[in-house]
């Protein structure tokens, strides 16, 4: 199944980019939404967890937007991502990724997955790792990007023939991002990809990701523990606690996010709002 074209990347950066509208309540069958990701009443329980990992989650994510889920450990963030990736089937509810079930989306190579660790293959060079998605499931016939160009955009041109063991943690994570962008997936699922990096490297890699996203504009669902990262990167941020997703907060900051956006008053206001929601989620989960 082919997908409708992505929204074009803005040719000139607009400081007055309109805030992303709060997702309207989605009505009708979830498979209608070819321009959005829709979760409807999604519930998932694990026998080892006292509360549901996902508890009747309703969510609409617009195509081309950057959506972040933030919450305490064990709140259901990663489960939400895994349900969207088709790695975990929900116990109840429906999931539609641009009109397709997650399994169909994976079959058509519409999904990019960036796990917590870079998960690079240590025997392949950086370039070979980035090419990996282009070498498997060739029948899906995805839209290909030049791996070397993506590496160059992430500042890794010199490292393309190196083995992962020669790279720093930040470089490895950039390779994992390049691998996900190499086949131009419609939906990029990122599960705390910067969790193991130090603060400065984290900021650097996050800005590189933002630049690449701005140019390519895949829809991103991003999971993180960091409020700052969530606000810097996202169009909308939702807090999850005990499997319950709160209404997303619109991040009405201009794009592209200027250098030093973290020091502005609107940024602090949004971060404060998210922190207070996060605090409530922490109290709820008792973590």
């Amino acid at each position: 199944m082919s997908l409708p074209p992505r929204p074009p990347a803005p040719s000139t950066p607009s400081l007055a980019r309109p805030a992303v509208e709060a997702a309207p309540a989605f009505e009708g069958s979830v498979t209608d939404g070819r321009d959005r990701i829709v979760l409807s009443g999604v519930t998932k329980r694990f026998p080892t967890l006292a509360w549901p990992a996902l508890d009747h989650v309703d969510l609409v994510i617009e195509r081309g937007s950057f959506f972040t889920v933030i919450g305490p450990s064990g709140a259901g963030k990663s489960t939400l991502l895994r349900v969207l990736a088709g790695l975990v089937p929900p116990d109840a509810g429906e999931v539609s990724v641009f009109g397709e079930a997650p399994a169909e989306a994976a079959r058509a190579k519409h999904l990019g997955w960036v796990p917590q660790s870079p998960a690079l293959l240590p025997w392949r060079t950086v370039l070979e790792n980035v090419r990996l998605p282009l070498e498997v499931n060739k029948r899906a016939g995805c839209e290909e990007r030049d791996p070397e160009e993506i590496l160059a955009r992430l500042g890794l041109r010199q490292a393309s023939s190196m083995l992962p063991a020669h790279l720093s943690g930040g470089m490895r994570q950039r390779v994992a991002i390049a691998r996900a962008f190499a086949f131009a997936p419609a939906l990029l699922l990122m599960d705390e990809p910067f969790g193991a990096l130090d603060e400065m490297t984290r900021e650097h890699v996050a800005h590189l990701l933002l630049e690449l996203w701005q140019a390519e504009r895949p829809t991103v669902v991003f999971v993180t523990h960091s409020v700052t990262e969530a606000v810097v990167l996202s169009d909308r941020v939702a807090v999850i606690g005990e499997g319950k997703l709160t209404a997303p907060v619109d991040i009405s900051l201009p794009r592209p996010r200027p250098e030093g956006v973290e020091d502005t008053a609107p940024f602090h206001e949004l971060a404060g709002e998210l922190r207070s929601r996060l605090k409530r989620a922490f109290i709820a989960t008792g973590t």
């Binding site: 790695l87 994976a106 796990p115 240590p122 498997v136 499931n137 063991a165």
Partner: protein, 255 residues
């Protein structure tokens, strides 16, 4: 200034050389004290240098049983491990059988193998394959299961086929385990072949046969020259495994 390779530093080669020298001295003292306990170092050396062809020929026979045996063992073990990683049912069915095989006194079935496969080299090759099978299977299984689960998920979200996942991720991930097993299994195959030659009826060549018949004739210098040849070939095959491993798994050297 050029850096001296690690192996050339006296601190590295000194201790094993001193230990080996001490061993030879103790050996010589014991041999001179009781010539039926051990032959002298010199008499063993004389045997090896005066008639090297005998030892090389018999070593060749033993290797011609050990190498096919270990190769068959590895291929069968890898194929079974692949089947076991694809199906829990197959694992449940086959793993207990492999454990039974491991605790079976395989040397005791050598005469029965001769009955089954005649007086050719086949029963000894089969015995080597049986002796080396269990470590090869367990390591193949551990290796195939050692693939990074997060990399598995990356391939799953790309809808990679089972074959693609196996070829691009699981098999390369299993190589360190296969080489670790080979370090044990390859020298073991030579010992296994020699023991098979000792216990199989109708055998008239191979280092195992040479050692056995020399011992029965109280020709301890020949028996020990045969044992030394076994040790040398065990070390050489292990060195080949180690060098091949360092070449194939060059990406691990930087960890």
């Amino acid at each position: 200034m050029r850096r001296v390779p690690e192996v050339l530093r006296p601190a590295i080669w000194g201790p094993p050389v001193v230990a080996f020298g001490l061993l030879l001295v103790i050996w010589q003292v014991l041999a001179q004290h009781d010539r039926f306990l051990l032959p002298t170092v010199g008499s063993v050396w004389d045997q090896l240098t005066h008639d090297p062809t005998t030892y090389l020929y018999n070593a060749g026979v033993t290797l011609s049983e050990a190498i096919p045996g270990v190769a068959i063992s590895y291929v069968v073990a890898l194929l079974l491990a692949l089947a076991m990683t694809q199906s829990r049912l197959v694992t449940r069915a086959l793993l207990p059988l492999a454990v039974v095989l491991n605790v079976t006194p395989l040397i005791a079935i050598a005469p029965a193998l001769v009955v089954a496969f005649s007086f050719s080299r086949t029963p000894r090759i089969v015995l080597v394959a049986l002796i080396t099978f269990f470590p090869a299977l367990i390591n193949s299984l551990a290796g195939l299961r050692s693939a990074d689960p997060q990399a598995m998920e990356v391939l799953e979200t790309l809808h990679a086929s089972r074959w693609e996942t196996l070829w691009r991720l699981q098999l390369p991930s299993s190589l360190p385990y296969l080489f670790a097993a080979a370090r044990v299994v390859v020298p073991l195959s030579i010992v296994g072949a020699a023991v098979a030659e000792m216990v199989s009826p109708g055998v008239s060549n191979g280092l195992g046969w040479l050692i056995n018949s020399a011992s029965q004739n109280s020709e301890l210098d020949i028996a020990w020259a045969g044992i030394v040849t076994l040790v040398v070939f065990g070390l050489v095959t292990m060195a080949i495994v180690v060098v091949t491993e360092s070449r194939v798994l060059h990406w691990r050297g930087f960890r």
